[in-house]
């Protein structure tokens, strides 16, 4: 499939572009290859021009490690990680809302750090460890964070909720491992007051500050996060 067409996508001629573009949809179906497949076998075909590596603009095979599984799809290099997840890998928990890195509805964890999937190209995300909300819990077996959000009703229409879940997950992970992923990254809410203990109101707000909700669920999200962070009371 995708691999066979590899050399065709290496040219910029209009004819090749048209042909590859037309094929992209048909090839958009993702392959679940399990643990056996090594990412390098699906590496995109690369062209060198003036010392710069070039791929595309036609669809090229890509591969990611998502929720511990190796997934593949053949996509144009301009496709975002968010659209790859949602439209090609059937992982629709991350939502497309602003599509420009403001609202947080598409939040996923990339190498343990919260990231907006709409602002990363799928092709860039290869080789990184990606965790989406689907990797956390299922409706039958909720992650404690998810159970707390349900119990405190930190959701209404629910469209922003997976983004909040992943932002909160990233925050909790950093709090638990102050020396770990955070590493003084300025966006990390947990660094100052990390290593367990009750989060301050300000820390809690910072943890949620990368995400917007229109229904107004912050009042339920705050106590949910407090409960999971091991505090229980306060703002």
């Amino acid at each position: 499939m995708a691999e066979d067409d590899g050399h065709d996508t290496s040219g910029f001629s209009r004819r090749d572009f048209l042909r590859t573009g037309a094929a992209a949809g048909a090839l958009g179906t993702a392959l679940l290859t399990g643990e056996a497949q090594h990412p390098s076998t699906a590496a995109p075909p690369v062209r060198h021009e003036a010392g710069v590596e070039l791929v595309g603009p036609g669809a090229v095979p890509m591969s990611w490690r998502i929720n511990g599984r190796q997934l593949q799809a053949t996509l144009e290099p301009r496709v975002t990680l968010l659209d790859a997840l949602r439209d090609h890998l059937e992982l629709t928990g991350a939502k497309r809302v602003c599509d420009r890195g403001t609202c947080g509805a598409c939040t996923v964890l990339v190498d343990g750090r919260t990231a907006y999937a709409c602002s990363i190209l799928a092709i860039e995300a290869q080789g990184l460890s990606i965790e989406t909300v689907e990797g956390l819990g299922t409706p039958e077996r909720l992650h404690p964070l998810q159970a707390a959000i349900v119990a405190h009703d930190g959701q209404q229409c629910g469209f922003c909720t997976p983004g909040f879940v992943m932002a909160a997950k990233g925050w909790l992970d950093r709090r638990g491992h102050p020396g770990g992923h955070s590493g003084g990254h300025p966006g990390d809410a947990g660094t100052a007051a990390a290593a367990g203990g009750a989060p301050t109101a300000a820390e809690l707000h910072r943890a949620l500050s990368g995400n917007f909700c229109r229904c107004g669920t912050y009042a339920g999200l705050r106590p949910a996060l407090l409960a999971v962070a091991g505090a229980g009371k306060g703002a």
């Binding site: 959701q155 917007f212 339920g220």
Partner: protein, 725 residues
């Protein structure tokens, strides 16, 4: 006649308790499939070519080259050559392609090939005297307003107002359309009106409504903007037909903000007067506001208080903008901000604590005054108002340049349950299912239906299934105006009572009594007063033999289960930085009644949500329309600023419960708590700073302008970013 009345408080196991929403686990795990998440085999992606001008004629539109582009499978012209476009980002044409990127390429190519004749436009609804045309709205006159105003001991004349805001649903408007054959359509629609959507698709496409099935199991927010399938619903179906494949058409964010949501503005010149003892005596006002090209109704000014001598008229200002839509509590936030700001200013001029002023004038609020009196007392306690309130501009707790202040407001809403049907089926194996084509727009509708059903049948929540969000189920009303909870809870109650009666009739012989001596409690059917004579529910249902039984419940219907008219009060505490003009929320209290509460937790969530949405429009939301281009400038989340978690302060909700409220029956709740925040917060800012900021949102610039003008200063213009340029 069967007794449909709500069970007595003492015997309720579920109704009125704090119960987590049943679809919470599906939502929090990403398992819930919204329209935007549905992926049909072979599905194509649609993009829309939109007119960049607020008013223009399409002079040339040739899309033949677009049809030949890679991946393009369908092209539909929506407004072709000769069409007059009436607002920016209105639709000209749409394409469907194999990938969304290809569809975007095609729309870019189409945009380069279309030519417009640009026509004059008008978008600045504040400039009443510059409007090319106006439309008279409602007018009212009671008593001798001018004469009594002249005789009032204390008088005030001021201008107040608030701009348009967007609905900004996080799930954009849109559909997925798939033709099952030449004249049968299936859609997945982000809709507040699943039943009505089938009819709308039928009308728009010229096929029988019965040939359309609409799915809307989960939807990502509507707030009044998703009652219609919209022009793009029909376009999506046409693209799908032309391409012979399912098509997804979801709006991009700039279109979502510009054309798919708009709460009309309201501006008003108000004169009012009171007797020396603080009795509100006279009111004269004229208001105006945007309404798209049509009219958006008239805000009910003066709000709540029936001033004995009043005169009011409203004028709609047509603008070249997409039609306004019902925005949570249509026209109430506008009327509330204008009225409660004026009353607060009058109380200040009287030298009265506004709480005392509002209490004194409660007789003017009619039959709800008793609720208001109780709620004001509760709010007073929760905010510690009476002890902490200080005269305007002399607030305690000032710290450096920061001043703290308190403000209050009150609101009402109707919220009578809409027309709804519900089928309850009991299967011989004991399975129970409710089906109704209502929708859960985030309010907890699914959970409410399950609570009523399980309560009525004496079963645990986990033992009942609720199926909603499909137009093929019994018809149910649109979710708007806080009408859903009354409609679905009463229809479900009636269906469940009747379905239970069918089961009891079958099982009665086995227990050797007449059916009227049986009750369903604790997972059993048993003889009343003789708990030992009982059958487990499954065995009781087994008496049905091989055929399930189904009962249909309707609203309206027999029995007194619902009511209309809710009352609530809100108090806000803010601090204002006099140097930067930044307003910070400290605390907000809502005391709200809504009759009998079905699920206390989701009811409270509605109130929290209304407060947060209200804080958002009070502090930062405004559709900034550029008078030069006629376009909305802030079409993304960076510049159309919603309140975040850190912006809302401490939130306190107190629902009024007890026999007096209980007896009223179920009353809707979605709208009321979003009405008062603008007024309560604006009044708190006036209390903190000593000056009135006359227009929302209370941006730092507007606060600084008001401080510069001083307490008696002119209102000036709302001075949005566009107007200053």
């Amino acid at each position: 006649m069967a007794d449909y009345s709500w069970p007595e408080v003492a015997s309720r196991r579920l109704i009125g308790k704090r119960i987590a929403r049943l679809d919470g686990p599906a939502k929090v795990t990403g398992a819930a499939r919204y329209t935007y998440d549905v992926h049909r085999p072979g599905m194509l992606y649609a993009k829309v070519l939109r007119c960049p001008h607020a008013h223009a004629r399409v002079v040339k539109l040739d899309l033949s080259h677009v049809e030949r582009m890679p991946g393009v499978k369908a092209v539909v012209v929506i407004q072709g050559e000769g069409s007059e476009i009436q607002w920016a980002l209105d639709e000209v044409a749409a394409v469907a392609a194999v990938s969304e990127e290809q569809a975007a390429d095609a729309v870019r190519a189409a945009a380069a090939a279309v030519r417009y004749e640009v026509l004059p436009h008008f978008v600045d609804d504040y400039q009443l005297d510059k409007a090319p045309s106006t439309k008279p709205g409602e007018s009212q006159s009671v008593g001798d307003a001018a004469g009594e105003l002249a005789r009032s001991a204390v008088r005030l004349r001021r201008r107040y107002g608030l701009p348009r805001v967007a609905h900004n649903c996080l799930e954009a408007h849109g559909h997925i359309c798939e033709w099952k054959d030449a004249d049968h359509l299936a859609t997945w629609s982000s809709s507040q009106a699943v039943s009505a959507a089938a009819t709308q698709f039928g009308e728009g496409l010229g096929i029988p409504a019965s040939n359309v099935e609409v799915h809307g199991e989960y939807m990502g927010g509507g707030f009044g903007s998703k009652f219609n399938i919209d022009s793009w619903g029909v376009v999506c179906a046409k693209l799908a037909k032309q391409a012979g494949a399912p098509v997804r058409l979801m709006l991009d964010r700039d279109a979502e903000l510009t054309v798919a949501g708009d709460r009309p503005s309201a501006w008003a010149d108000v004169e009012l007067g009171a007797l020396a003892d603080g009795t509100l005596n006279a009111w004269i006002s004229s208001s105006w506001g945007s309404g798209g090209l049509g009219s958006a109704g008239s805000p009910p000014i003066p709000y709540i208080f029936e001033v004995p001598n009043m005169r009011h008229r409203h004028t709609a200002v047509p603008t070249h903008t997409a039609a306004s839509r019902a925005w949570r509590a249509p026209n109430h936030p506008q009327a509330c901000l204008i009225t409660m700001s004026a009353l607060d200013d009058l109380a200040d001029r009287l030298g009265m604590d506004p709480l005392q002023f509002f209490k004194k004038n409660l007789p003017l609020t009619g039959p709800r005054q008793r609720f208001f009196a109780e709620e004001l007392a509760v709010a007073d306690r929760l905010m510690d108002w009476s002890r902490r309130w200080r005269k305007r501009g002399s607030a305690q707790g000032s710290r450096g340049p920061e001043r703290t202040g308190l403000g209050l407001s009150m609101h009402v809403w109707g919220g009578r349950g809409h027309a709804s049907n519900c089928d309850v089926t009991v299967y011989p194996d004991g399975a129970v299912e409710a089906r109704l084509s209502t929708q859960d727009i985030g309010t907890g509708t699914r959970t409410v239906v399950a609570i009523v059903l399980a309560e009525t049948l004496g079963l645990p929540l986990a033992a009942v299934n609720v199926r909603i969000g499909d137009s093929q189920y019994p018809t149910s009303g649109a979710s708007g105006g806080s009408t859903t909870v009354g409609g679905v809870s009463s229809a479900t109650r009636r269906a469940a009572v009747d379905a239970l009666a069918l089961v009891l009739a079958k099982v009665a012989p086995q227990l050797g009594v007449s059916p009227d001596r049986l009750e369903a409690v604790d997972g059993q059917v048993r003889v009343k007063g003789e708990p030992s004579r009982a059958l487990p529910w499954k065995r009781a249902a087994g008496a049905l033999g091989v055929s399930p039984v189904t009962a249909r419940g309707t609203n309206p219907g027999p029995g007194d289960l619902i009511n209309s008219g809710s009352a609530g009060v809100q108090m806000a505490e803010v601090s204002v930085d006099l140097e930067t003009g930044i307003v910070r929320m400290h605390k907000m209290v809502t005391v709200q009644e809504c009759g009998l509460i079905v699920d206390l937790q989701t009811a409270e969530s509605q109130v929290y949500g209304g407060m947060i949405m209200g804080i958002s429009y009070a502090l930062s939301e405004e559709k900034v329309l550029d008078p030069i281009t006629g376009r909305m400038l802030n079409v993304d989340f960076d510049t159309y600023k919603l309140a975040g978690s850190g912006d809302v302060g401490e939130l306190v909700v107190q629902m009024m419960t007890g026999p007096e409220y209980d007896r009223r029956g179920v009353v809707g709740l979605g709208e009321p708590p979003v009405v008062s925040p603008g007024a309560a917060i604006a009044n708190a800012v006036a209390n903190a700073t000593g000056v009135r900021v006359p227009f929302l949102p209370l941006t730092p610039q507007r606060v600084l302008d008001a401080l510069a003008a001083g307490p008696g200063g002119p209102a000036g213009a709302p001075a949005s970013a566009a107007r200053r340029s």
